[in-house]
């Protein structure tokens, strides 16, 4: 049960897979376990696949993919067979489709807890590869517990290191490095192992090792039943690599071989040859454009043991190589040599425990510009299989501690043959990843800079108004102006003789259209008055005052100017004195008759009122005519009309003794009888105060 590190002739055969499978038990799928009693149909065909699968499985890793194909066909018949699930799980575990393994192994364990002695180990490896470190640790512990004390004393079952790897893995996965890892594509990689890329320093050519099936090269290596190693080249075309070609010149050998490195001037190529002396490093020189037959490098470097990869520092004065010669700390170790003063290589020295571990180190590579040595190791803080590490030499010649290049460059599988470019921007290496095309594949690692913050953009409309403006929010409804539309009639009422203002004179405004009083006002002590009138038009005005004769006229306000909302109308009143006269303009008679017309009523009532308010006065009512007609006729008409007025007043209750009437014909004209206007004025009724 011990993990056996076999000295093998291939550059790279020992792997995380082989480590896994070195512990695997070759349990057999029994017919009785596989056959379903009630399901005859399909059994024979399925069983044939089981038997073919079993045969291929037993032949070793190299034929596991073919074995898996048969197992999966058989699985269609019976998916509950514990041993079949176990075998499928193991095959997947040994492939680049390792992430499917856990599902089948779990089922195998579920169906039969004792399906295999190493079921916990296989489960642990499956979880380990899937980065499920907690479950992996649990299964490793379960595997360890399945051994007796005696067995543990006898075998090194090696789970301690795996558990350490899981713990390192947790740490590395939680702190990933920023890289892009691109598969070099199906054009370059095959379904078989492809590894150890070496870039020519001058030309856009990549050499790499492949164990793919190749025409005329169908030998399999007995250690793992895979095809032998061969070197292929691929030319770079922009970002892509062209379809690889088999290296068929003098560099080609019949056994395992691999290009290790090319000198910086491109004139020397170093190769691994598995057929030579337990595995040796050879060198070929470029002469006239052709590689000469490779020869072993310095005897100081070579031994009867295995020397695999080699790297030179930039001026070629130092070399680093990997060997399992005596003096290793464990397995393959890195050794160091330098040119002495005679340009001879010094005796190689183990790089020491700071670099080498009890596990294998492999794949040394010197940085083309800096004092850095890259290598892969199964020890240190590997998260599983080979992880890539780097050590750097300071100005004092001291090496730093190996630094794991981190996840996702490193995985629980083998990550190896790492070749950093001079710019430190990209590197090539081989790895087993879930986007592979089978076995190990060649990958390009692109190193990103430091973590960069992504710029998320949030936008808000802070102001609601900006989002959906209420268009009339700004609109404030207007207010009306206060407009004073009132009009006033104003003025003074004065004594006609003294011009003094008359107090308490009453002014009545009569709407002529409606024949009614619409406004009334009184004078103040100065005789001033102001009466609000609805509009500017002609009104009838009647002014009365105690001890004064009344005054009546049509005020032509429409013709007057409005000043400060006022129209002015001044009135003069005659005092009631003996001999005072007043023309009664608003007494109208039928033509040539003494019959008083209806519209004379207001004027007559005013005269009656005057008499009632002044009960001591006596009046003479006189009639007057124009000069049209005879004197006598006019005298008679004027007297008749005066009498009609007196009769009316008597009817209104005025004592007859207070009234006299008289006709004056046309003897007392007030206007020119030669005009119609003058004659109209002369046709009138007057009164005269006879006594008070």
């Amino acid at each position: 049960m011990k993990i056996i590190k076999t000295t093998i002739l291939s550059l790279f055969i020992f792997s995380a897979f082989t480590a896994t499978l070195s512990a695997q038990e070759d349990i057999k799928i029994k017919k009785s376990d596989f056959q379903i009693e009630i399901k005859e149909v399909g059994f024979n065909e399925a069983w044939k696949h089981v038997k073919k699968g079993e045969k291929l499985y037993s032949e070793g890793l190299g034929t596991f993919p073919q074995a898996l194909e048969h197992y999966l066909k058989a699985y269609k018949y019976n998916s509950d067979c514990a041993s079949l699930n176990y075998k499928i799980g193991v095959c997947y575990l040994a492939s680049d489709k390792f992430y499917y393994a856990a599902e089948y192994l779990e089922k195998a364990y579920l169906k039969d807890n004792n399906i295999a002695r190493d079921i916990h180990y296989m489960l642990a490896r499956a979880y380990h590869f899937n980065l499920d470190f907690e479950n992996a640790i649990e299964q490793y512990k379960a595997y360890y517990s399945s051994f007796s004390v005696k067995e543990l004393e006898k075998f090194d079952i090696g789970v301690d290191n795996y558990i350490k790897q899981c713990k390192y893995g947790q740490e590395l996965v939680n702190n990933p490095v920023r890289v892009i890892i691109n598969n070099l594509s199906e054009r370059v990689n095959s379904e078989y192992d492809d590894y150890n890329p070496v870039l020519h320093p001058k030309e856009d050519i990549m050499y790499f090792t492949s164990r793919r099936e190749t025409e005329g090269k169908d030998r399999r290596y007995e250690g793992d039943n895979k095809f032998l190693e061969n070197v292929f080249t691929s030319e770079q075309a922009g970002e892509l690599w062209r379809k690889p070609k088999l290296l068929e010149n003098k560099l080609d050998s019949k056994g395992n071989e691999s290009v290790l490195t090319i000198s910086s001037d491109g004139t020397k190529i170093y190769l691994y040859n598995g057929d030579e002396n337990g595995g040796d490093i050879l060198v070929s020189e470029l002469k006239n454009g052709n590689w000469k037959s490779p020869k072993g490098i310095s005897n100081k470097i070579l031994s009867k043991y295995k020397e695999t990869t080699i790297a030179f520092n930039n001026d070629g004065s130092e070399l680093f190589f990997v060997s399992n010669r005596p003096g290793t700390i464990g397995g393959m170790d890195i050794f160091y040599s330098k040119l002495d003063e005679k340009s001879k290589w010094t005796e190689p020295m183990n790089m020491g425990a700071a670099v080498n571990t009890i596990y294998d180190e492999e794949g040394v590579y010197w940085h083309p510009k800096e004092d850095k040595l890259y290598f892969s190791s199964q020890g240190h803080n590997s998260m599983g299989g080979f992880d890539v590490f780097v050590i750097e030499r300071n100005e004092n010649g001291m090496w730093s501690n190996p630094e794991n290049l981190g996840y996702p460059i490193n995985t629980p599988n083998d990550d190896i043959f790492f070749k950093m470019e001079e710019s430190n921007k990209q590197a090539y290496y081989s790895s087993v990843r879930d986007n592979g095309f089978g076995g190990k594949d060649l990958y390009k690692v692109i190193f990103l800079g430091e973590e960069k913050e992504l710029k998320l953009k949030t936008e808000d409309i802070f102001l609601a108004w900006n989002h959906k403006p209420i268009e009339d929010l700004f609109y404030k409804k207007p207010s009306e102006f206060k407009v004073d539309t009132a009009l006033f009639m104003a003025g003074t009422v004065t004594d006609s003789k003294t011009a003094e203002g008359i107090n308490f004179a009453k002014i009545e405004v009569i709407d002529l259209e409606q024949s009614q009083v619409i406004a009334t006002g009184l004078t103040d002590t100065a005789g001033n008055y102001q009466i609000k009138i609805p509009k500017k038009k002609d009104y009838g005005i009647e002014v009365t005052a105690k001890d004064y004769l009344f005054f009546v006229e049509i005020a032509a306000l429409s013709q007057k100017q409005v000043v400060d909302s006022k129209v002015t109308a001044n009135f003069q009143l005659d005092k009631i004195d003996v001999g005072a006269k007043m023309i009664l303009n608003n007494i109208f008679f039928e033509t040539n008759k003494a019959t008083i017309k209806e519209e004379s009523t207001a004027e007559l009532e005013r005269v009656a009122k005057l008499l009632k308010e002044n009960p001591t006065i006596r009046l003479e009512i006189s009639g007057h005519t124009d000069n049209v007609g005879s004197y006598r006729a006019n005298q008679k008409l004027s007297e008749s009309r005066a009498k009609s007025v007196v009769d009316y007043l008597i009817e209104q209750g005025v004592g007859a003794g207070r009234l006299e009437y008289k006709g004056y014909s046309f003897n007392q004209p007030v206007a020119d009888n030669n005009t119609e206007e003058g004659r109209a004025q002369n046709r009138r009724v007057e009164f005269k105060v006879l006594s008070k």
């Binding site: 800079g449 992504l454 710029k455 953009k457 949030t458 808000d460 609601a464 102006f481």
Partner: protein, 348 residues
Amino acid sequence: MKKLSVTLFAILLVFSSFSQNSIEEELKELQKNAKLLFNEGVRFAKEGDYTKAHLKFDEALFIYPEFANPYLERAKIKILNQEFDLAMNDVAKAIELNQNLGEAFYVRGYMKLLMKDYQNALTDFTHSIQKGFTESEAYYYRGLMNFELLDYNSALIDFTLAIDKNYDFAYAYNERASAKRMLGDHHGAIHDYKQALAYDSTIVVAYDNRASCKIKTGDFQGAIDDFTKAVKKDPEYYLAFNNRGNAYYQMSNYDAALRDFQKAIELNKEYAPAYNNSGITKIKMENYLGAEQDLDKAIGIDPEYAEAYMNRGYAREFLGKFPAACADWKMARELGIEEAEKYITECE
């Protein structure tokens, strides 16, 4: 002869005096009638019949062209009719005729606000208030101007004055909340957004704004609920979809985030930030090519979108397109993102 001259002078003087008085009286009469026509216009305006109101204001100005108020009211109606040039002429005339007509400054301020001439709008709103036009809207608009001019403290005071004059002024609550938010008072802002919605639940922007505040206070679920309310009230509200996407993004729910960003793009194909956000979500989902395409679109829409250049650089870095990534970071640096400098250093 001398006597005759004196008499004639007296007559002329009387006549002149009479003539002057007559003109003044005539003027007053015109003013009164213009006011009566103006009042008729006001009554129409109050009833919402702005066409008739406009006609009455025209009539008022026809008989008395020196009357400031009809110009002002006519300007307001023209603004409602979006006849801004004519409105500006009217309001300028109103101010020319009456420097103390506070509302005229308010209306001119409003027009300058529409023209995004915020500084002069602020001056006009201040004049309007100084001249006695102290309506809540005057403080509100001045607050808007202060906000736009990044004077959030003054904006806060103005919105508060607007609310003091009109306690249910929902818009003023929303804007005050935003001012508080700018001043870092996220809890105060959330309260004001709540008030805004209490008085007017149709202000969907308040849901969106409140949600953004909730994110600041760590209440992502509350934020998503508010964003959801916003998009339910206004299914065309692409910003709210974009912002909800951001909330999902920050909660690492990239599927939901991407759905929202895509919806925002569907609603507004010219909205560059949604493409940007969709792009970085795709980066998180390791779809770098898709991310680059989205960021191409964001930059196509807005060639000066610095953040999109930063992000596209990131996507291109993952695609191994280093020269292109470096070019993007250089562009981002030129556009003002200082942290791009260290990425450029990496390129070198």
